[in-house]
Point group: C2
Chain length 147, copies 2
């Protein structure tokens, strides 16, 4: 089985964010990887689904659990282009996911603003992966929205 880099997987998450962009959704994308294989791809669909809970991470968690037939994801890695919000951080806690990589930081809505560890104690965390690319997509989106 070929091994891919973390940048490769984050780039796949960015492709999901690009789809969101093209569909008029806030461009956030995510993939979940199990044993070097992408088992879930998702992008933010809050507008299309008319559902505030339809963040990329939430859809990816549900999709990965479906794929694996298992509720918990301790051997999985999530790659998401934006720091997860409190809701998604809480969902990641319940999933017991192995590692979370995120791209751009979200100081306003990101889960890291709270005083308590929102993620599961066994979940590793790494931020800043392809952060510039992710941030550029978000800035482009909001610039386009204003025009």
């Amino acid at each position: 089985m070929e091994l891919f880099s973390d940048e490769y997987y984050m780039n796949e998450a960015l492709k999901q964010a690009q789809i969101a962009f093209e569909e008029g959704e806030i461009p956030v994308g995510a993939v979940i990887v199990s044993k070097n294989k992408i088992i879930a791809r998702a992008y933010n669909q809050t507008e299309k689904l008319n559902d505030v809970t339809a963040h990329a991470e939430m859809i990816a968690i549900t999709s990965a659990a479906n794929y694996l037939g298992a509720k918990y994801l301790p051997e999985c890695k999530l790659y998401v282009t934006l720091e997860p919000c409190t809701m998604c951080g809480g969902a990641l806690f319940w999933s017991q996911i192995g590692k979370v990589f995120y791209g751009a930081e979200d100081p306003k809505r990101g889960f890291r603003k709270t005083n308590v560890g929102i993620l599961h104690p066994k979940t590793e965390l790494q931020g800043g992966l392809l952060a510039q690319e992710s941030e550029k997509l978000l800035l482009d989106f909001f610039k386009k929205l204003r025009n």
Copy 2:
């Protein structure tokens, strides 16, 4: 239109929790009320759906938005038998729901353990509604699980 009390609606949420209990799910139930009408009823289905995100509140929020054809729920009230967790608190933030009533407290997983206001600043909060009934159902469930 007949007006019902908050206890009436919380009792309807307890009925949902009872269904969860009977289906072997952690017994938490919720209803969402708009203009004195129950527009969503839901109970925890994490086992049945094999999905850690399938909490009663999450399902109720999605369901209420579907019913109203609107993503935001500022004129709605949520009645949930247990204090929402961080994930559900985050989802309630995004929904901008008007008021949250909960029954039993959840000091370990409840959203109130964080230092930042997780709910939307316009969301009112009232705890302790039929708390004993809700707690009894949860205690009975875990007692049954241990036996």
